[in-house]
């Protein structure tokens, strides 16, 4: 060994290095692949079950086949949380931050890598659910085709929604840092609170992440729950819903990055 020659290397670490580190970290944990495999398999199974169960040919059969994404969101959100909080519970965070001292880059690297993997898995799960759910339909119920209006959009945006909920989890993990607390906020905030709000105010509920994924992104047509009465406003359109969901992911990530840079590790 010789003393490091400081002139040997040019440039400086940046997002590319942070992302390569995070990619090796993510792929080298068995729990990553188990969680993603179970999520994808569960999503497709529920799509098949709902397909078999569909009796009304005029219902949104595409939306039915994508029903399995909703429970899958919980798992990808939890995986996003753990991608950050497991660094704190294990002590790995100190190795990570010593390697990449410009801390927002660490979170950006995680967002790029985990977001990319979650998007790929989300799209595979969506398309597989759509195809399997359609194939499982009973006789007499016509299967939707990707060429029909809104169908391709619904299937694709469902996968994007899957990725964005994962990123929301990642941001929560960066803010809260403790696995149990961050998971509680994810489940309590995204699922329980959304259901609770839905029961008091439909107007607010349409902006909550689960309603957006379930009723704006994964549908072929904007649904209304009947007659445009005051208690039942229109759900967000697919593209408005996508924009709001992007904010749901971006705000915790930006806040988490800011807090990561300011706090002692």
């Amino acid at each position: 060994m010789t003393v490091a020659d400081s002139g040997r290397s040019r440039g400086r670490y940046g997002l590319a290095q942070a992302a390569r580190m995070e990619w090796i970290k993510l792929r080298s944990l068995r729990s990553t692949w188990w969680t993603l495999a179970i999520t994808a398999a569960g999503t497709v199974s529920i799509g098949v079950a709902v397909g078999v169960d569909t009796v009304n040919p005029s219902s949104d059969v595409t939306n039915n086949s994508l029903a399995g994404l909703i429970p899958g969101l919980l798992l990808v959100g939890a995986l996003g949380v753990l991608t950050m909080t497991s660094e704190y519970s294990s002590g790995m965070i100190r190795s990570t931050l010593a390697a990449i001292p410009r801390r927002p880059l660490v979170l950006a690297g995680k967002a790029v890598v985990f977001g990319g993997v979650a998007l790929a898995v989300g799209e595979v799960a969506s398309f597989a659910s759509f195809l399997a759910g359609s194939a499982a339909l009973r006789h007499g119920i016509p299967a939707p085709a990707l060429s029909q209006p809104g169908v391709l959009r619904a299937v694709m945006l469902s996968g994007v929604g899957f990725c964005l909920i994962g990123l929301l989890g990642l941001g929560l993990g960066a803010i809260i840092r403790h696995s149990a607390a961050a998971l509680a906020v994810l489940v309590g905030g995204v699922y329980v609170a959304a259901t609770f709000i839905g029961n008091i105010s439909h107007a607010v509920a349409v902006y909550t992440p689960i309603i957006i994924v379930g009723n704006s992104l994964s549908t072929t047509k904007p649904e209304t729950c009947g007659g445009g009465s005051a208690s039942c406003p229109h759900l967000l359109s697919a593209w408005t819903g996508l924009g709001v969901l992007c904010l749901w992911a971006a705000i915790p990530l930006v806040l988490g990055g800011w807090m990561l840079a300011r706090r002692d590790a």
Binding site: M1, K25, S28, G91, M92, A98, A99, P101, A265
Partner: protein, 246 residues
């Protein structure tokens, strides 16, 4: 070269590091000694930018840690024994760190061989004994072939053979011209491993000296150390008063 300049860190009302100024020079092993809770680990964390000081600064080769271009190639650090994810193999842990600083992947196998973990490279690090975990931490510190090494209590959990190994390693690293800054609360180990000694108590500098100088002050190095740090510990022991008085 590490330049610590008037470094102060408070946690609430407690002052962990109090206006500490020390230069740690290359080519020698500098021991960092103090009782438990004297601020050694906090100082190490401040050097690495993991904690932000309330005032003062640390320069490594003239730069703050956060300004380093390739931090792992300039500074290698062993902090607490377990700064890795238990589910990841030793090799994957080191490969991830190597990727973060554009260190060639071949270097991972080199450092695994240096610390004697080549046979356990594919095992999940969570199954490692404390001694193996220390060796993995040292492998991570050596990964970037850095000119500055920070080792916080490196002999913790090592068997006698491991203690001698780390001592020889530190001496060799210093002989190659590197800066080696090693903390310990074990005065006897520092007497064997270090040339220079920086002694702190309650976050303040008590002595910046050599092993020979400090030993000359008292009957033994241990006596000199205890005299120096008496009153600076975060506890009090009443020697000779273990019998119940009646």
């Amino acid at each position: 070269m590490i330049e610590i300049e008037k470094l102060t860190k408070r946690y609430g009302p407690m002052v962990a590091v109090d206006a500490l100024s020390v230069d740690v020079r290359p080519g020698t092993v500098t021991g960092f000694l103090g009782p438990n809770g004297s601020g050694k680990s906090t100082t190490m964390r401040l050097i690495l930018g993991l904690d932000v000081p309330d005032s003062g600064r640390v320069l490594i080769g003239g730069r703050r840690y956060r300004e380093l271009r390739w931090p792992l190639r300039e500074v290698g650090a062993l902090l607490e024994a377990k700064a890795f994810h238990p589910g990841r193999s030793a090799r994957s842990h080191l490969a991830a760190l190597a990727a973060s600083n554009d260190i060639p992947a071949a270097r991972v196998d080199e450092v695994l061989a240096i610390v004697g973990l080549d046979g356990a490279a594919r095992r999940r690090a969570g199954t490692f004994s404390l001694g193996m975990a220390q060796r993995l931490g040292i492998a991570a510190a050596l990964l970037g072939d850095p000119g500055v090494l920070l080792l916080d209590e490196p002999v913790n959990g090592l068997d006698p053979e491991g203690v001698r190994w780390i001592r020889d390693l530190m001496k060799n690293l210093a002989a190659e011209g590197r800066t080696v800054f090693v903390s310990s609360h074990l005065i006897s180990e520092m007497a064997l491993a270090a040339d220079r000694l920086v002694v702190i108590g309650r976050g303040r500098l008590l002595a910046d000296t050599t092993v020979a100088e400090l030993s000359a002050r008292s009957a033994s190095l241990e006596d000199a150390f205890l005299q120096l740090t008496s009153g600076a510990a975060d506890y009090q022991t009443a020697v000779g008063h273990t019998r119940r008085s009646s």
